[in-house]
Every structure is written in structure tokens, then in C-alpha cells.
């Protein structure tokens, strides 16, 4: 099993702290009285709710249906009653609220009758397997949350290598480690389904060499499986990054803005494989995940299997609560996670770790000016120039940050970790990225506004010209009339009558719609219709008093 391995540029060796949480087996979390299930738990479009407040739902029942291709449904993670569909705090660095389905659990945890495809997975066509995986709401459980069925669609390409990511390179996190130790046969069952869906060649299960137990157990599990291999890789952060791991295992470079598909590789997380096994072999959608609750601020750090939507405070309480003065609670690992704004927020599909750190004895060293040491460039796994990116992001020179390939940055945090000046480099890159996206959106809006404004100007111009043309015609007619001899009094009267009649007719025809309501898009027409409906309601309500006033 000495397989040739390659290496990626840079990387760091932060202290691991894995032993904090990997000493105890996975425990089943108790059921919270209220589950808050956000609709948006993945990359792509939000699903649309299909239940209503007051509905009784069973565990595994669909709550919101996927919209568009890159989307995933969400399911009830226990049985109970929908008590609200409203904006609640979700795990997101912004601390903003988003739409959630709130479930009051009834404690019975009753599953929906599973409609299982009785066939063996090898008898199911790959496209149908992808549909099963899609409707089970499975997304990448390693952290990014990309809908998994898309990653299992080779779109006509030959997939030479399917990589299972069991690297778990970020300090503190041990949920994949424990899953591999305790549920290796289920993971293997999921891997085989993935391989079938992709019609992939070899399968590599990559595990860092700091997890010898998991390596041994997985090796045992695959002992009689041809074409599947467990590869132990030397521990180095960020080995678990998609492009980094592909490089290490295959020596292939993923194109800058391309996908691994293009070089015949697909990479998925081991926890995702486990979820696929549950979905295809047991008909159970993704309603729970394993999460590491750890850090020096947690009394009994461990891994819990948790229904999606469980409040994070509920999980901390099950681990003995916090100890000491908490500095902050982080969702995700110490390198790539973000600080939590409120302990009421729920656990979602992509949350792999809750990290509570104590107030350090010494305050963090202050940020200092960049000394241009170049340490950041040495560790960057993407071989970027973090220092240059920093200067340009700081000066808000966004086009220059893009020249330095800002969007190739994977936000791994290696550069900030080694920076002797304690500059929060990644924060600058995130700022620059979201600012660029927002400017692109605003540019689009401005272009639309410019078009509409120019159209309006030309319309006013045209109307003006038409009006003048009409006036001139009239003047000419008047002039001609004055050349003809005087008319009698009766004729004059007739003319006045005619003019009055015209005025009357004009008044009646004033009901014609204004010009800007011609050629409406369906969306605009809908807005008008809705507004008209509202107006009618208002009119009806106001009718009685108005009549009285008349």
C-alpha cells in the first residue's frame, strides 16, 4: 500500500486538539422541544416551503421543495407540529435572519412511512440514484454544502478516480474520524452507491495519518473490495481542500476556475457517503448529522448525532455546558469557522463543529503594520500573493485584487495564521470578494436604470415633437380660415357647439391608460393586478363612508 503521493504548496501544522473530543463515542442527542429548520442550508437556490403553520408532520417528511437545478429540499428532522414559518437567526457570519420552518416536536420521533426502492442499488440506473439522493436533500457535509447529486453526475465524462475525503485537517474537529471508526460498513455501502452512480474507476479513501484508528478500521472494512483503497496522507493543513487533496492523491492540478470533473476526478466527504447509504438503502432523507462539540470552554467535549434544526445551546448543555469565561463560540473549525452571534441559532446540514474557546490569559497581540516578510506567500496552498492581495483589498482596489486571483483564494487562513503582524488577512479577502459581488449586482442595476432613463428621455422628446407638429397644423388651419371671408353668426355658433362636443368626447376618452403601461412584462402586470386587487378591497372597505360624504 505504498502509493505514490504528491504534495501541495505551503500549508501549516497548527496544534491539533483532536484528543479533546475523540475519546468518547458518538452519543445520540436528546430531542429539543423546538427545532428551527432553515430553508437555506446549501449552495444554490433556496427551496420553497410546502407545509403550513399548524400542519402535523412526520420525521422525514419534506418541508420545502427544491427550486431549480442547484437546490436541495429540507425535511422534518422529527415528528411534530409546524408552529411558525418565519425569519429566525441562522448560522451565518452576518448574524442575519432567514426563513425557517419552526417545529414543535411531539417527542414521538415518528418516521414517515418509507417508500423504499426494493431493488439492489446495482439494479437502479445512475440517473434514478441521483434523483433519490437529490430528493433526500443530501448536500456536501464537509462544510461547503454543494448539492451532492450534481457531484455524482459525470455529464458524459469518464471518472477515473472517486476520492472520499476523510482527511478532516482542521484542528479540533473529529466528527468524520468518529464516524469512520463507528460506522465503517455504512460508509462503505454509501461509497459503493456513489461509485455506481458515477461509473467511476478506482476509489481512494484519504485519511490523515493522525487518525490511525480510523485508518485501521476503514482498511478492515474494505478488505474484500477490489478497486477501493485507503490512503494515509501526512497530516498538514489544508489537506482536505478539494484541489489540495486531488493534487496530493493524483498529482493532477485542477484548473483555476474549473471543476474536478474536467480532470476525471470527483471528491466527496465520508459523511456524505454515510448519508447516501441512509437515503438509498433505508429511504431516510438527511435529517441528522454528527457534529463535534469541543474547545476548552466545553466541560465534556464529544461528538453528538443531532437532528437538523436543534438549537446549539441545547447541544452545549448536553456536553456539560460551558466552563470558564467564554471568549466566543465558533461554528466550524478555528481556521475557517465564524463566530456565532446568538446561542439560539440552530445546527444545519453543513455545521460540522461547535467550538467554544475560553478567554485567553493574555489578550491577543494587536494588529501591526505589514513588514513585508513574505511568510504568507510561503504557506499559501494556492500559491497566491497574500500580501499583495491584502494591500489592494485594503485600498479597495478591487480590480487589482482580481488581477492577483482573489477568487482562487480558498480562505483557508494559513496566511493569517503565520502573519507575524497579526493582520486578519482573510477578513480582507472576504470583504473584497463580497464587495466585488455587490458591485457587480449594482452595475447590473445601474445599466438597467440607464436604459430606462434614456428610453424615457427619448419618449418625452418624441411626445414634445409630436405636440409641436399638432400645434403647427392647427396654426396653419387658423391662418387659412382667416383668409376666407367672415362667416355668419349661426355658423360661428355651430363651430362653438362642435368644439364643446369635442371637448366632451375628449373628457370621456380620458380613461385611456397612460403610455408607460403599454407592453408590460408579466411581472409588472402581476404587480398592477395585485395593486388593483388591493385597491378594490380598500374601495369596498371605504365605500360606505365615502357615499355618506357625497
Amino acid at each position: 500500500m505504498s502509493r505514490q503521493l504528491w504534495s501541495f504548496h505551503g500549508g501549516i501544522h497548527p496544534p491539533q486538539y483532536k484528543e479533546l473530543s475523540n475519546q468518547r463515542p458518538i452519543a445520540q442527542s436528546s430531542l429539543a422541544a423546538e427545532l428551527v429548520i432553515p430553508l437555506h442550508q446549501h449552495i444554490g437556490q433556496s427551496p420553497e416551503p410546502i407545509v403550513q403553520v399548524g400542519d402535523y408532520v412526520l420525521k422525514g417528511q419534506e418541508l420545502a421543495h427544491a427550486q431549480g437545478y442547484v437546490s436541495a429540499p429540507v425535511h422534518a428532522s422529527s415528528s411534530g407540529t409546524v408552529v411558525a414559518i418565519e425569519e429566525r437567526a441562522i448560522p451565518h457570519p452576518s448574524g442575519l435572519n432567514a426563513l425557517c420552518v419552526v417545529l414543535a416536536t411531539d417527542g414521538e420521533d415518528r418516521w414517515l412511512e418509507q417508500q423504499l426502492d426494493e431493488r439492489h442499488y446495482t439494479a437502479i440506473e445512475p440517473s434514478h440514484l441521483r434523483n433519490l439522493i437529490r430528493s433526500a436533500g443530501i448536500v456536501g457535509l464537509g462544510g461547503a454544502g454543494f448539492p451532492t447529486f450534481i457531484k455524482l453526475n459525470p455529464t458524459g465524462r469518464v471518472i477515473d478516480t472517486l476520492i472520499l475525503n476523510g482527511v478532516e485537517c482542521e484542528p479540533y474537529i473529529t466528527c468524520d474520524d468518529l464516524l469512520m471508526r463507528e460506522r465503517s460498513t455504512e460508509i462503505l455501502a454509501g461509497i459503493k452507491i456513489m461509485r455506481h452512480a458515477l461509473q467511476a474507476g478506482e476509489v481512494l479513501i484519504a485519511i490523515e495519518d493522525n487518525k490511525p484508528e480510523a485508518i485501521a478500521i476503514m482498511q478492515q472494512a474494505i478488505a474484500n473490495e477490489p478497486g477501493i483503497e485507503v490512503v494515509s496522507v501526512p497530516t498538514r493543513y489544508p489537506q482536505g481542500g478539494e484541489k489540495q487533496l486531488i493534487k496530493v492523491l493524483t498529482g493532477k492540478e485542477c484548473p483555476s476556475s474549473g471543476l474536478p470533473f474536467q480532470i476525471g476526478v470527483v471528491l466527496n466527504n465520508v459523511a456524505t457517503a454515510y448519508a447516501i447509504h441512509r437515503a438509498v438503502n433505508h429511504g431516510q432523507p438527511l435529517v441528522s448529522r454528527i457534529v463535534t462539540i469541543t474547545g476548552d470552554g466545553i466541560k465534556e467535549p464529544r461528538n453528538l448525532e443531532v437532528p437538523i434544526g436543534t438549537p446549539i445551546q441545547h447541544l452545549i448543555d448536553q456536553c456539560g455546558g460551558t466552563s470558564g469565561e467564554i471568549e466566543r463560540i465558533i461554528i466550524g473549525g478555528p481556521m475557517m469557522g465564524f463566530a456565532m452571534h446568538s446561542s439560539a441559532i440552530p445546527l444545519i446540514k453543513t455545521s460540522n463543529c461547535i467550538l467554544a474557546t475560553r478567554q485567553p490569559e493574555q489578550p491577543a497581540a494587536p494588529e501591526m503594520p505589514c513588514i513585508r516578510c513574505g511568510a504568507c506567500a510561503e504557506v499559501c496552498p494556492v500559491e497566491l500573493l497574500p500580501q499583495q492581495l491584502y494591500w489592494h483589498a485594503r485600498a479597495k482596489e478591487f480590480d487589482k485584487t482580481q488581477e492577483y486571483d482573489l477568487f482562487d483564494c480558498i480562505e483557508c487562513g494559513c496566511c493569517s495564521y503565520v502573519c507575524p503582524s497579526n493582520i486578519p488577512l482573510v477578513h480582507y479577502y472576504r470583504f473584497a470578494k463580497t464587495e466585488i459581488w455587490s458591485q457587480e449586482r449594482e452595475k447590473e442595476k445601474a445599466d438597467q436604470a440607464r436604459k430606462r432613463h434614456e428610453f424615457r428621455l427619448s419618449r418625452i422628446e418624441r411626445e414634445q415633437a409630436e405636440k409641436e407638429a399638432r400645434l403647427a397644423l392647427k396654426r396653419a388651419a387658423v391662418q387659412e380660415k382667416s383668409e376666407t371671408p367672415d362667416k355668419g353668426e349661426a355658423e360661428k355658433q355651430a363651430l362653438i357647439q362642435a368644439a364643446l362636443a369635442r371637448a366632451q368626447a375628449k373628457k370621456e376618452s380620458q380613461q385611456e391608460p397612460p403610455k408607460n403601461t403599454a407592453e408590460l412584462t408579466p411581472a409588472q402586470q402581476r404587480i398592477i393586478d395585485e395593486a388593483d386587487a388591493r385597491r378594490q378591497r380598500l374601495d369596498a372597505a371605504a365605500d360606505t363612508p365615502r357615499k355618506e360624504a357625497e
Binding site: L96, Y428, F431, E435, A446, H453, R456, L457, R462, Q510
Partner: protein, 184 residues
């Protein structure tokens, strides 16, 4: 009778020419620099810069008659972009023209609206729908937040509201750096 025919033909000719001239004259093209500048302006068309819209301000800048710091809706971002384009140093927003505010959209209180159409005439981007004596509505996606419709409304039924922040469009805040200057 003959005079009338001649007069009408002459008029038709004159106005045909006039329309043609207008089409050429108002075709927004011409100065490529003004074009480039205009592309950087937010197109709110609010007139806070002291010009009747973004394009006239862009033209004034292209002629060198206006400074680059007069557009409050564009704020710092626009000033930096303009400075970059024109090879100048960014300067702070001219306090005289107003201050940078969060993005807003107008909404009409439908119960109060009397359907006078005055706001429709003020809207620079035709974002208001409605007819005489019928209630008016603003197409939120097309409203630039210029506030030009507020003043003409005789019953004060238009309000500006801040666009609520959404998770998907949220931006990381600018990190607060300690004071330092860029070396060399």
C-alpha cells in the same frame, strides 16, 4: 386650399427634419470619455450632483467642469473608480451635495394615493405604474431610490424605506486597520 396643401407639406418636411435631427442629437453616444464616466455612475438619476441626471454630470466631468466627488449615491466606491479612470487622487465626497446613505426604495401608501400621476411624471426611470385617478404602485426592482417622486406628491403618501439586508447579498464589513501608511 392650395396654400393649405403647401403649408402642410412644408410643415411635414420641417418636422420630419426636426425629428431626424432630434434622433441624432439626443442619441447618447458622442464623447467616449463621457461614456466611460457615465458607465461608472450609479444611474440613480437623482440630480444631487447639481446636474439633471448622471449623463449630464458625466459630460461635465469629461469637459473638466465638474469635480469627481459630487455623487452621493455612488459614494466612496464611485469616487475611487472615477479617480482611477481619470488618473486622479480620490477625494472625499463634497459635503455640499449630501452624504452617502444606505440604499433605499420608495413605496406608495396605497390607501392614501389619490391617483394624481404627478409622481409618474417625476420618476426618471418609469418605475411607477398607474393611471389617472387610479392607485399607483412602484416597481421595487426598478426604483433607483432617487427620491424625486417624494416632493410632487400632494398627499405625501410616498415613503423611502431601506432595502432589508438579505443573507445572500450580505457583505463582509471593512476590517478596521490600525493607522499605518503603505511603505514604498
Amino acid at each position: 386650399m392650395l396654400t393649405a396643401v403647401i403649408a402642410l407639406t412644408a410643415l411635414a418636411l420641417i418636422f420630419g427634419l426636426l425629428l431626424g435631427f432630434a434622433a441624432v442629437r439626443f442619441k447618447v453616444e458622442g464623447d467616449p470619455l463621457a461614456e466611460k464616466i457615465d458607465a461608472l455612475l450609479p444611474q440613480t438619476q437623482c440630480g444631487q450632483c447639481g446636474f439633471p441626471g448622471c449623463r449630464p454630470y458625466a459630460e461635465a466631468m469629461a469637459r473638466g467642469e465638474a469635480d469627481i466627488n459630487r455623487c452621493p449615491p455612488g459614494g466612496e466606491t464611485t469616487i475611487i473608480a472615477l479617480a482611477d479612470l481619470l488618473g486622479r487622487e480620490p477625494i472625499p465626497l463634497d459635503a455640499e451635495v449630501g452624504e452617502e446613505k444606505p440604499k433605499m426604495v420608495a413605496i406608495i401608501d396605497e390607501a392614501t394615493c389619490i391617483g394624481c400621476t404627478l409622481c409618474i411624471q417625476a420618476c426618471p426611470v418609469d418605475a411607477i405604474l398607474g393611471a389617472a385617478k387610479q392607485m399607483h404602485t412602484i416597481i421595487e426592482a426598478e426604483c433607483t431610490g432617487c427620491e424625486l417622486c417624494l416632493e410632487p406628491c400632494p398627499v405625501d403618501c410616498i415613503d423611502m424605506i431601506q432595502i432589508p439586508e438579505k443573507v445572500l447579498h450580505w457583505k463582509w464589513p471593512y476590517p478596521q486597520p490600525p493607522t499605518e501608511t503603505r511603505p514604498g
